[in-house]
Symmetry: C2
Subunit: 256 residues, 2 copies
């Protein structure tokens, strides 16, 4: 059921929040007997709620409850929900910037990027619902872009090609991750396993009748059904697609 979201707040307010200076965070002492509310705590709590219950269930009231604060208190630290989501996104991007050693060879590096992104979507599935064009220009977003560009630098691609390759990977991983994540969470959200879902549909479906118009769908559908014991196998599909994708990029790079 689950309504979903696209973050789009006031640019200036969002930027101020994104680049807020943590060094001079507290100039005033917190009120006695209170755990102080800060932008960081609000953002962290919001991410927790979104991780656990999805963007649909992310409400200002729920975040406030999570913090033991009044709903309207959040607005002291965050301009509104749209801006909050923008900042949540940038915060997660920041987290994903691990300092692991980078593999040798562009193919291994690109593969790593793809897998890191998939892992991020798995940890924070709500990110799949947040708009991407005109991203929040925060340290996390810029850092992630820089990091991913570095995987492609110096192997003979033009700047435009580097950008295009990253866009290609981002598009693919986003799409494939949707499949993986939705399959993972489908059972929990609908209260039905894949098996139960099929069992709920099948009797009705066969009752409605004539599927001779869909011979290929029947053949291929039951082939993958038998192989995975589920309507689809998103993780296997991710691996397959990633392989083809890297092959296609290799044609470009190795052709030089």
């Amino acid at each position: 059921m689950t309504t979903e979201y696209i973050g789009r707040g006031d640019p200036a307010r969002t930027l101020a929040l994104l680049w807020r200076d943590p060094s001079r965070a507290r100039e005033r002492a917190p009120r006695k007997g209170r755990t102080e509310l800060t932008a960081d705590r609000v953002i962290a709590a919001a991410i927790e709620v979104a991780d656990a219950e999805g963007l649909a269930a992310l409400s200002m009231r729920k975040v406030a409850d999570h913090l033991g604060a009044g709903t309207m208190s959040l607005y002291t630290h965050v301009p509104g929900k749209a801006e909050l989501i923008d900042v949540m996104l940038d915060t997660v991007y920041k987290e994903t910037l691990t300092t692991e050693e980078t593999p040798r060879g562009w193919r291994a590096r690109v593969e790593r990027i793809a897998r890191d992104n998939l892992a991020m979507y798995r940890r924070h599935p709500w990110i799949l619902q947040v708009a991407v064009s005109r991203p929040p220009l925060g340290p996390g977003t810029l850092g992630k872009y820089e990091h991913e560009l570095s995987a492609l630098d110096g192997i003979g691609l033009t700047d435009l090609e580097m950008d295009n390759v990253l866009t290609l990977i981002a598009a693919y991983v986003h799409g494939a991750a949707r499949g993986v994540v939705e399959a993972e969470r489908a059972a929990a959200e609908t209260g039905m396993t894949d098996q139960e879902w099929w069992q709920a549909h099948e009797p009705f479906l066969t009752a409605v009748g004539d599927f001779s118009a869909y011979p290929l769908a029947g053949r291929v559908g039951s082939a993958s059904g038998e192989a995975y014991n589920a309507p689809t196998d998103p993780t296997g599909a991710f691996e397959f697609g990633l392989g083809r994708l890297l092959d296609g990029i290799a044609v470009l790079i190795d052709g030089r």
Copy 2:
């Protein structure tokens, strides 16, 4: 700002609606002086609203107003909003099944599928927000699957590979289409052109300061900025990615 949606209704009710028999639609005459309300009219109106204003703005009240009916009258013909969205999706899939002649050669056929899907997302951007796993098992969805499988039949792929290739394409096109569509609609939805958006961010951004940590991002970003006079060029990115994707699939097919 815009909340978004994932359709997930009661399976049995959705199926009944999906496979409803149009031949015996009306057994009772419409009430005098009224244009009769039907499931088809509700669905069509809902698609119109979603096309024009986005899934965020799709409300039962608005659909009813569009039809000159009371809000609760919709529930006579449609079980609820979640089911309505499922059926809207299947209806659009049905529309896209054109009977154009299929090109010769798998590459041209797959390219056509990708472009057809992009065109569909452009016409009905809200589809990008609707969940895909456990799709509505209606005539449109099945027909679309069958149609796309037929482009890959008989060229030496296993059934599983055929399914995986389609999943790959669907994932990529979905991701790329998001970029295209969001760029197209960003101006309208935020009331700012790309230029204005940059102008709103730039002064603040340079004021915040030090971007020496992002040398590649700066170089590549301004390279594509100069080339397209915009932060990104999603349509060009779509073309580039599609080319690489087809190259990668060719490695698999031609390698046989």
